[in-house]
Every structure is written in C-alpha cells, then in structure tokens.
C-alpha cells in the first residue's frame, strides 16, 4: 500500500526535481570544456523560480490552445515519468501502459507545442513547428524499432518488465541487436531532446533553431512550464536509456537500502550520459536541416539491423 504512495512521489521528485539540474550540469561541463567559467549549475532553477513568479504576456492573435499547451506538455511528460522505471523496477503506473503509450504521449506534447507555435501567427513559430514535425517524424520509426528490438529481446513491451528481465539475466544484454538498438536510441534521443547536432538549444537564430523557435512567444509561467517540460523530457529519455541498457543496481523492490544504492548508481549513470552528450555537442557542429534525415536514417537502419540480427541470433 505504502509503495503506491511512496514510489510515485519518489519518481516525481527525481524526474521533476533533478531535470533542471541535469541541464545545468550539462551547461556547466560544456562551459568548462570551452574553458569558460559558465553559469552556476543551479542556474536553471533560478530561471524557473523567476519565471514562475512573473505574469505572462500573451499574443493577442493566439487562442486558448496557446495557453493550454504548457500544461498539456508538462503533464504528459509527468505521466511518462510515472510510467518509466527510475529507481525501482516496480513502476507506479505500470498498468496504464507501455513504450507505445510513452511514444504517443511524447507525440501529444509535441502536437500541442506545434499548434501553439502556429497559434501566435509569427513566422518563427511556424518554421520551428514544421521543422520539429519533420525531425520527429524521421526519428519516430527509429525510436519505435529500437524499442521493439528491446521488447522482443525481453518478450514484453512493458518497460518495467523489460528492465526486470534484462536485470535478471543480463546475458541478454550481450547480444549484438541490443548494442545496435542502443546506438539507434542514442541518436534518436539526441534528436528528440533537441541537442546538437540536430538542434541548437542555445540560440534563437531562425536558421538553426527548431525547438526554441516554438517557445519564442511563451513568457512567464508558460515559458517556465515549457522549459521545464523540455528538460524533463531529456531526463526521461536518458532514464529510459539507462534503465534498459545498464539496469544494474536498480532496486527490484521498495527496500530502502536498495533504493539508496539505486539512486546513487542512477545519478552516476545519468551523469555519465550527460557527459557523453556534452562530448558529442563539443565535437560536432550543427547539421544542415536537410542533412538531419540522413543522420536519423542511419539510426533507422541501425534499428532495423538490430531486429534482423535478433532473428539471426535466435
């Protein structure tokens, strides 16, 4: 009974609470590697707090869709964060759905973001929206296929089961298909989270921007929610990656000690992947828009190979 109370709260705390931190961490490392001092690692929190205390300026051409969007986005990511296993293989909303639901909840968030970007009637928003849709529609098949590769390996599309299976006989992790799937999923996550080389989260140049372009008209609370949602999205994606491919140490119950260890390891893993992302962003330039399909196409091919090799291995 307690588990039904504790676990959700725990997961919400982890995802909601720590997602800005991840963002700050990435920025900090990046600044360091660019030999800048960089902003404090807690800067994202300051921004959020500030924004949350402000009123909002809303475009007069926009409609209720524009105002509803931040909530929808935020909440859909929240639900996802309750479906993915974070610290324990036991997942609070396990019965509500599986990876397919997760993918389509992301779609829900995206859907409304793009609508809101069109709603303001500014060309920037439309541009960002259309590019976002293109990137995501390229990314989605790769994502689904790579997740399917995993699902087929673990005989389930349900994340907690997947994690559980892979945790119990880790030998499954050692087959080539999972490695391929891992690679594909990595690329997809970079695309979905809007990082270099697919998108540049730091600028508002209409040439480069995708995700930021959609947030252009948001302000105050709305902006806060949108930003927060995007950082949560990043963390959730990383969590999925981590808990599927490196499930070791994740608690298989609700024992306090187990959770502590799981949390420690979780932080380490996330930190590692954040670092990887930084490295990638440091070592690549942003791709031209019409080069992105090639990159994602590669990911798609990888995921297909993952599944085919799965058949071959079996």
């Amino acid at each position: 009974m307690t588990s039904n109370i504790i676990l959700p709260i725990l997961q919400l705390i982890v995802i909601v609470g720590f997602s800005p931190l991840v963002k700050g961490f990435i920025n900090k490392i990046e600044a360091r590697l660019q030999s800048r001092r960089g902003a404090s690692i807690f800067q994202p929190y300051y921004n959020l707090v500030k924004l949350l205390q402000k009123d909002a300026v809303v475009s007069e051409t926009s409609s209720w869709i524009f105002r509803a969007t931040p909530y929808v986005t935020f909440v859909s990511i929240l639900i996802i964060s309750l479906i993915v296993p974070v610290l324990s293989v036991k997942v609070p909303l396990n019965f509500t759905g599986d990876i397919i639901l997760i993918i389509y909840l992301f779609a829900l968030a995206r859907f409304f973001l793009v609508l809101s970007s069109l709603d303001t009637g500014s060309a920037f928003g439309g541009m960002g929206g259309s590019r976002e849709m293109m990137v995501s529609s390229m990314a989605e098949p790769a994502m689904i296929l790579s997740l399917f590769a995993v699902a087929l390996t673990a005989d389930s599309t349900n994340l907690s089961n997947i994690t559980n299976t892979l945790l119990n006989d880790s030998i499954l992790l050692l087959n080539p298909s999972l490695l391929l799937a891992f690679a594909a999923l990595g690329v997809v996550i970079i695309a979905e989270a809007g990082r270099i080389p697919v998108d540049n989260p730091y600028t508002h140049l209409e040439l480069t921007m995708i995700h930021e372009g959609m947030l252009l008209e948001f302000s105050g609370r709305y902006l806060a929610l949108a930003e927060w949602a995007s950082s949560m999205k990043l963390l959730v994606l990383l969590t999925i990656l981590v808990n599927i491919f490196l499930p070791w140490g994740i608690a298989d119950g609700l024992a306090f000690s187990g959770l502590i260890i799981a949390f420690a390891l979780y932080v380490v893993k996330i930190g590692f992947f954040a670092f990887v992302i930084v490295i990638v962003e440091m070592s690549f330039a942003k791709l031209r828009l019409f080069r992105i399909p090639n990159l994602l196409g590669t990911a798609f091919i990888l995921s297909i190979l993952a599944i085919i090799s799965l058949y071959v291995v079996r």
Binding site: S59, S62, S63, I65, V75, L78, Y104, F111, G121, S303
Partner: protein, 677 residues
C-alpha cells in the same frame, strides 16, 4: 425479432427515399422528412446490430420472391452485424448532419434527388454487407456505386466534378466486373444454380490452387479499387471532395469499408485456408497504401482532398491488419490472428467515427467560409468556437494521440505487428517488422499532416475575407458532430467495451474467443496471447493525467496567486503582424517536399520581376506543383492506347456501299470455303 427490425429499417429508408421525391414544392420539408426517416431507419438497424452482437447470433432472411432464377436471401451474422453497426451509426449522425448541411442547396438545387439518392445510398450499404448471394451482392454492390456516383456529380455544372464522377464510376465498374469474374469462377466449381454464398463457403477452399490464386488477385483488385489501395486509388481523392460533404462523410467513413468486408468474406470464409504469401501480399499492399496515402495527404492544400488521402492511409492500416491476420491464420496461430483482426476491426470503426467527424467539421468550415483551401482560412477558432474543438478532437484521435480512440487501435496494430516474430519464416518476420516501421513513420506523418490541417486553418489570423466573416454553423451540424466527438473519447477510454463486440465477430470468423485472455476489467492485458506481456489502461492514464494537472495547477497558483496575462501583439521583428507573415500550409510541409522529392517530383518555378535598375524585387511569383506520378505514368498511357486503337479501327465504316457489300461477300466466301465443307 432482429430480422424484422432490419426489414423495417430497410423499408423506412425506402420510404424516406420516395418521400423525398414526392415533395415537389416544399423542398425544405421534403428534404427534412426524408432525412428524418433515414435517421429513424438507422436507429432501427443499429438496434438490430446491437441485438445480434449482444449474443453473437446469426439470422437468415430468405425471401420467397424470385429474382430471375434465384431467391433473394440475406444473412445477418456477426460480421454483417458489426458492419451494420458501423454503417448505421455513421448514417444516423450523417442524416442529422445533413439536415443542416443541405440548407446550402435548398431552393438553389433540386434537393429531392439528394434526399432520394442519400437514403438509397445508406440502405444499399446495409444490403451490401448482408447479401448472401452472388447475384444479389452484385446488384446491391453496384447500386451502391451508382448511387454514390450520382451523389458525386450532384453539382454537375462543375466539370471537375464530372471528371471525378467519370473516373469513379469507370474504375468502380471495372472493379465489379472483376468481382463478377471471381464469382463466376467460384460458381463454376459449385455446380448448383443458386449463386449462394453458402455454396462458396463449402466449395471455395477446395478449388484447384490455380483458380484460388486467380480469384485471390481478382478480389484484391476488385475490392481494392473500392478500398482505394495504391495504385488503384485514383478515383478516391477526386470523388470524395467532389461530393457534397454530408455524402463524402459517409463515403469516406463507411463506404470504402465495404471493401474490407469483402476481403474478410473472401479470405476468411470462401477461400480459406489461404497460403501465407497471400497474407504477405495483402500486408505489403496495405503498408504501401498507408505510407503513400499519408504522404500525398501531407502536401494537400484542399482540406477535403487531404481527408480523402488520409482515408486511403487508414484503409491501408486496416488492410495491414487483415493481411497479418491472414498470415497468422495460415500458420494456424489463431489467437494472434484474432488479435490482428481485432486491431483491424477496431481501427475500422475508429476511422469511421473520426473521419466522419473530420469531414463533418470540414463541411462546417465550408458552410461558413465557402472555401476548402486551407491557405485561405485561419483564425477560425475564434469565429467557430464549437466547431474548432470538435475538429481538434478529430485531429487528435486520427493522429492516435492518447487518450482518444485512434491511439487504442494504433496500439493494437503495433502489438499484432510485434507478434509477427512468432511466425516461422524469417522473411515474413522481417517484412512485418518493416511494416511496423512504416506504420510508425505513417503515424508521425499523420500527426504532421493534421497539425497542419488544424493549425493553419483554425489558428492565428484569418488569411482572407472568407475566413474573416465566418460564422458558427446551425445547431444540428455541430450537435451531430459532437456525438461523434463523444464517441471518439468514449471508445478511447473504454476499449474493453468495444472489444466485447469485436470478439463476437472473431469467434464467428476464426472460431476462437480470446477476449477474456485479452482483457480484464478495462485494462487490456496481453499476457496469455504470448509470453509477450503488456498492459494498457487509457482510462486510468487519463485519470492520473487529470490528477497531475490539478496538482500542477494548484502548485502554480500557490507560487503566484494573482497570476495575470497581458495581451499584446505577436513580436514580428518590429513590424506589426499581418496574415501575410503567417506560415502557410505550403510552407509548413516544404521540408517534407524536399525530403521525399523522389516521390513528389515537385515542379517549382520562381519568377521574379525586378525594378530597373534591378536592385529591388518588384514581385515574386512562386508556383509549386506535386506531379501525380500514377496518372502520368500509368493511367494516361493506357487510356491513350485504347483510344488510338479504336480510332484506327473506325475507318472500317468508309460509307461506300461497295465496300459494305464486299464485307458480306468475303464473309460468305470464307465461310463456304472453310466451314461449309
């Protein structure tokens, strides 16, 4: 009981049709009455279907009335009843909707024929899915085609509509000719002389392999034309927009589904057992149609054409499921076959609902603005405050966004595709998985397509005067659409209820009842189907979503109690925002045109007029066309060929009596030399 209800409803449709003709003077009244009759009749048939599906019963209707040699007989088994349910629920809504929509035509055009044909159209679909005899089936099938043809060319002054009508009826007729051949071939093996489907059920499976394959392909093409599979889709995106919206609603929503009905009848009853490769063919066809359909929808600017193309895509999805089900069945994995079938039938009814909803709302937009071009719209959400959210619901559910119904069927599709890897042959495994990828890509493109459709036409500022002066439509129109929207939500939240009904169909067709293993309460669990275990509960997801929303909102209000919004114009780099600055539909899908350039073959010309000296651009004209490759490389040449041949032959009639006499003479000589001996 049920059969009486069915007959009553058919009779009611008929009376409605006739009454429509009877009112010469008072068009309005006649129209109203006929449509009301249609609505009542569809209520009756809905009840019929519900009664039959509640206990999975099978009812035969054998009339002792002789058609030339055979008696009229109909069969209401669960399959039929399921389709009856889908058809007549849409008919009900459509009838109510039409009461409002037909005001466009009253006293401008002859609405008597509209009412007449409309009733006939609805009833013919009912008869198609119940006919139990080849002759009767052909008759009602073609009746459906012809009536819908007349409805397509209802506004026949417009040459484009006539062209659409021609292409429609010609292709449809070719299709039914092929179907007739299929029936003949099977009939030749039956021996008895009442072209009953029951005989086909007995004999079809035992036909020689060659004939079975021939029939298989005949049926693919014959029904495929109706289903609008690529490359036989040509008529669909022309005819559906040409028809009045209340008609195209029904055409897109349910008429093209009768083809699916045909597939089920043939491949699961007449011709079964089928070899696996049949299923694979169907699967590939479905995948192609799905992908190409949505790709063409994506770059469409005319909203009704866009919806028509998306119907092709959705039919493709359903056909994928049918194909999967066939493959599973041929490998004797009945449970999985049944799963795929559930996915297909579920998506069928879903698509019927949300596509009608979308068409209806498009009709509302047309009613209010008299334009179908998305780029001329915009800002309607402020002017049509009820239509907009309804359209949004439709858009969300067609893009399979949870918690709406589209998502559930999409989920089933993925699950059944995922189970493809239980099949023995590696090739088929890989094909299924690639289909999975195609479905995924399709899903993403659908989202894009409908974001465009909704965002460009309803949001931001109106782009033209049409849009600026739009008013909300009459009550019946959005009330009826509201019903559909509610259905979308309901079927999204409580899938188990629908499953129960679908299950009867499955148990009838495949003889296995997997629903209890599929679902407990309304969590869908797939534990028993395979080791592959997963759960889905859209309802609870939705509930938790609401809770979380509440929490978020509460927290935010705690942080800043007096939250206020200032309204200010959009920042457009300093100048005041105009409609001209908005992103258009063309621009929105421009990246896709570049990415899929091989398919679209876009022809772009940009011509600039410069001032002299040529420093400044005076005007830019930009034309971007997507070239229709199927017309260009397939249909055009074929028809041209036929016409050339016949032109060459026509010199035979030279007009000279001597030549004519010579024909007779030569014929005679040849005969008495070669035959007379």
């Amino acid at each position: 009981m049920a059969e009486h209800l069915f007959v009553i409803s058919v009779l009611l449709y008929a009376t409605g049709a006739l009454l429509a003709l009877c009112f010469f003077k008072w068009q309005k009244a006649g129209n109203f009455i006929s449509l009301v009759f249609a609505a009542i009749a569809s209520c009756f048939s809905i009840t019929t279907a519900v009664i039959l599906l509640s206990n999975g019963a099978t009812v035969r209707l054998n009339f002792s009335l002789y058609h030339a040699i055979i008696k009229y007989n109909f069969l209401l088994d669960p399959v039929s009843s399921y389709f009856i349910l889908a058809i007549s629920s849409i008919s009900f809504v459509a009838a109510i909707y039409s009461i409002g929509y037909t005001r466009l035509y009253i006293n401008k055009r002859d609405t008597r024929f509209l009412g007449f044909l409309y009733n006939l159209f609805l009833v013919s679909m009912l008869l198609v899915v119940t006919a139990n005899n080849a002759l009767v089936f052909m008759i009602v099938w073609e009746l459906m085609t012809i009536v819908s043809f007349f409805l397509v060319i209802y506004e026949h002054e417009n040459p484009a509509n006539m062209k659409a009508g021609f292409i429609y009826i010609i292709m449809a007729h070719i299709g039914s000719a092929l179907l007739a051949v299929a029936f003949f071939i099977m009939f030749a093996h039956v021996g008895t002389w009442d072209f009953g489907f029951d005989d086909f059920r007995k004999v079809g499976g035992r036909m020689p392999e060659v004939y079975k394959n021939v029939v298989f392909f005949l049926v693919i093409i014959g029904f495929g034309i109706k289903a609008g599979i690529f490359p036989l889709h040509l008529w669909l995106p022309m005819a559906h927009p040409a028809a009045p919206t209340n008609v195209s609603m029904v055409m897109s929503g349910v008429m093209i589904k009768t083809a699916i009905y045909g597939f089920i009848r043939f491949y699961f009853e007449f011709l079964s057992p089928c070899p696996p490769w049949w299923g694979v063919v169907i699967l590939i066809i479905g995948a192609t149609s799905a992908l190409l359909g949505i790709l063409y929808a994506l770059v469409e600017k005319d909203i009704k054409t866009l919806l028509a193309y998306s119907s092709i895509e959705n039919n493709g999805l359903i056909i994928i499921c049918i194909g999967l089900s066939m493959i599973f069945k041929s490998y004797n994995l009945i449970a999985l076959s049944s799963l795929a079938m559930i996915a297909g039938l579920y998506h069928l009814v879903n698509h019927a609902v949300f596509k009608s909803l979308l068409f209806g709302c498009a009709g509302n937009v047309y009613y209010a603005t008299h334009t179908k071009n998305i780029d001329d719209l915009g800002g309607l959400i402020k002017r049509m405050q009820i239509t907009a959210p309804l359209f949004l619901v439709g858009v969300l559910s067609i893009s399979a966004i949870p918690p709406l119904n589209g998502f559930v069927s999409e989920w089933f599709v993925f699950q059944s595709l995922l189970n493809g890897f239980t099949m023995p042959s590696v090739i088929i495994k890989i094909i299924t998985i690639i289909c999975g990828a195609v479905v995924a890509l399709t899903g993403a493109l659908v989202a894009t397509c409908f974001v465009k459709a909704f965002g460009i036409s309803f949001l931001a500022m109106p782009r033209t005067e049409h849009a600026k002066h739009a008013k909300e439509v009459p009550v019946v129109m959005y009330v009826s659409m509201g019903l559909l929207a509610v259905l979308c939500v309901f079927m999204g939240l409580f899938p188990a209820k629908i499953m129960m009904t679908v299950n009867h169909v499955n148990t009838h067709v495949l003889g296995i009842d997997i629903v209890n293993s599929l679902t407990s309460y309304d969590w869908l669990q797939m534990k028993i189907v395979r080791t592959n275990f997963t759960q889905l509960s859209p309802k609870s997801a939705f509930v938790f979503g609401l809770i979380l929303l509440g929490i978020t909102f509460g927290a935010l209000t705690l942080i800043r109690p007096g939250f206020a919004r200032k309204f200010y114009e959009t920042w457009t780099c300093g100048r005041s925002p105009e409609p001209r600055l908005e992103y258009t539909a063309t621009a929105f899908t421009r990246p896709f045109k570049t990415v899929f350039a091989n398919l679209y073959r876009p022809q772009r010309e940009v011509s600039m007029v410069y001032t002299v000296p040529k420093f400044f651009v005076k005007s830019i004209s930009y034309v971007s066309e997507v070239s229709p490759i199927f017309e260009k490389y397939f249909y055009g040449p074929v028809s041209q060929f036929v016409l050339d041949i016949s032109n060459k032959v026509r010199w035979v009639h030279t007009g000279s009596i001597h030549i004519y006499l010579t024909y007779i003479f030569i014929t005679l000589i040849i005969l008495i030399i070669f035959v007379g001996k």
